[in-house]
Point group: C2
Chain length 342, copies 2
DNA sequence: TGCGAATTGGAAACCGGTGTCATGGTTTCA
DNA sequence: TGAAACCATGACACCGGTTTCCAATTCGCA
């Protein structure tokens, strides 16, 4: 009646060393791809490793090397789909490595947010962290990482930090494309739902919109702008205000999909049909965009690729160099845009 | 010109021991709340710990104890919101502990899924894993955990495993409530969109539906059942089939929200209005339910509480006992149900 | 052929904790 | 009063790797 619950003993570096007739150190050299090692020894050790199914213990490695193989993901993101997509990209990048991903949501409105993050980093001694917007826009967070000697990469839309710590998307240009598309369909009066103040992404998207408006010499004024804070409800309210203007805008660009869905809702409350009476474009291409009716034309962030790039940058800063990684967003055309009635 | 990048040296157990004039072992006893320790010594050591801001190194602890303080989350869930809500619950449970959460998506259709999971567990030597549906319904996964001596808790809707490893929701009863509600509104011909074969949750929900149909003596037949696989598109197709029947059902219960959203889409394609021409109820109360038009009446899984319970069960199996944790779901009434036209 | 340099492998210390067992002091009970 | 039981505590090995330092071997070149 053996104790079956007991963890099956896994082979250690000592077993490998003994079976291949070399010292621990030599095995360690094989694992860490040390160049000063005869090809023959390496092959012999590798075959023993394969035969035993040996896997180095990350704990022991981490302890000895003074850091572990954990990458943290810090987020406070209202957009679940985006966070999950991001996770997917990171995991793709670290699949064949010894790294693992630790997620840590953060409450950006909490007064002790920084202390929380600090104690988390102190305790877990992570290799580094990936920080998603909007908290990536908080410079104090990056400072905490620097203080603690913890690696970090920020996701964002502008110059938040040194390029070595940045992966950015070109929201501004992408919004431009969206407006271009509306104009090509014949729209001239285009409303804008901006995101919350203090969000870099909101600012970038607004500027992209304004640049495009200027480029096309479209009519513009305060009655064509309303503010939301990236939630569905504020989207409803903001669109409501835009639709009271006379003449009404024939199209609305919302700074994210949730607010665009809210705008759709608001249009329905006024018995307007989308896209017949109003064209809509969102931003982010989250799941909701494809699943509402009509399916939403929106801007797709290449988030999975960005996540992959960010993870690689964190794991191997030297190789990634000091260049920020820039990614282009694309317009996804669905059914929420049509030419205006007139 | 000191090397400023260097990680600030954190105090170790040795520092604490030296400053409080006791041995490492005694400090260790304080950390682990060992009962055989004089109150006075404990107080002295604790004050030194506080003064130094000492935090035990989880790596070293993990190495010495043979397991680490990482909880894994295994999921292959099409429902991003649910996964994230689950994460939230887990994190709430482990906030004040030394544990951290590692997420690991899994591709349930991949042939080497089991090998992937196995090598992940072998490498990371997790304390334990939480497994979300639908993969929690794969008994081979639990077997891998047992083989490796890794703790695990399954989220599910039925007797998938011993109670000590289970946190369950009462889908069956919840579906009953949904049908009761439709009947109370006057519906008699109710269509069912079931989930994919082999999913315990799909089976539970179907059985709950059938029980309710029998209880209310509703008409029923194969023309009132269609199958989907929990995605939007299959929801569209399944609803399409149901709506071809004559007489048409006046209400449809879909086994998840995505398929319910698909059913809404299908109704629109047929120029039917919801809820005037067709009432709809979904399941899960994901974000999409509240954001489509009309907002969807659905069954809300208390997922955050369940996640919290699962995490506690994993961390402290002794305290949690052998009882499975059962949670009740609620019907969330929104605008997708109305009395039938007659 | 001889000598220093370069290559390769090993012994032992170390990372920061926990487990085992021994120690000395106090209390309990016969 | 002595033995036994029972604390609280400490010494030391150990977890499974990496690193430092040194020894042994091979190699190049005079």
């Amino acid at each position: 009646m053996a104790d079956e619950r007991k963890r099956e003993q896994q082979p250690t570096i000592n077993d490998v060393a003994r079976l291949s007739g070399v010292s621990k150190k030599t095995v360690s050299r094989v694992i860490n791809r040390s160049p000063l090692l005869s090809a023959e020894t390496r092959k012999r050790v590798e075959s023993v490793i394969a035969q035993l199914g040996y896997v180095p213990n990350p704990q022991a490695r981490g302890l000895a090397m003074g850091r572990n193989f954990l990458i943290g993901l810090l987020h406070d993101n209202p957009n679940a789909q985006m966070v999950l997509n991001f996770q997917e990209g990171v995991l793709e990048a670290i699949r064949e490595t010894e790294f693992a991903l630790v997620v840590r949501p953060v409450d950006r409105h909490s007064p002790d947010m920084l202390d929380n993050v600090r104690s988390f980093l102190e305790q877990q001694r992570l290799w580094g962290v990936l920080i998603l917007p909007p908290i990536s826009e908080n410079p104090a967070l990056a400072q905490v990482c620097r203080d603690l000697g913890c690696g970090y990469v920020l996701m964002g839309s502008a110059k938040l930090d040194e390029p070595a710590h940045l992966v950015e998307s070109n929201d501004r240009e992408a919004v431009g494309k969206a407006v271009d598309y509306l104009v090509s369909q014949g729209h001239r009066r285009i409303g804008l739902i901006v995101g919350p103040n203090g969000f870099r992404s909101a600012q970038e998207r607004r500027e992209g919109f304004l640049e495009a408006v200027a480029r096309h010499k479209l009519p513009f004024g305060p009655e064509l702008v309303a503010q939301g804070n990236y939630t569905f409800d504020t989207g409803v309210a903001a669109a409501g205000r835009l639709l009271e203007a006379a003449p009404r805008p024939t199209a609305i660009f919302a700074s994210n999909d949730e607010m665009a869905a809210g705008a759709l809702h608001a249009a329905r409350q006024r018995e307007m049909e989308v896209p017949r009476d109003l064209s809509l474009i969102g931003f982010d291409d989250t799941a909701i965009a494809a699943h509402i009716w009509p399916p939403l034309t929106t801007v797709r962030w290449p988030i999975v690729s960005m996540a992959r790039a960010a993870a690689l940058k964190l794991i191997n800063p030297a190789e990634a160099g000091d260049q920020p990684s820039r990614f282009l967003s694309d317009l996804v055309r669905r059914a929420s845009v049509a030419p205006p009635l007139t």
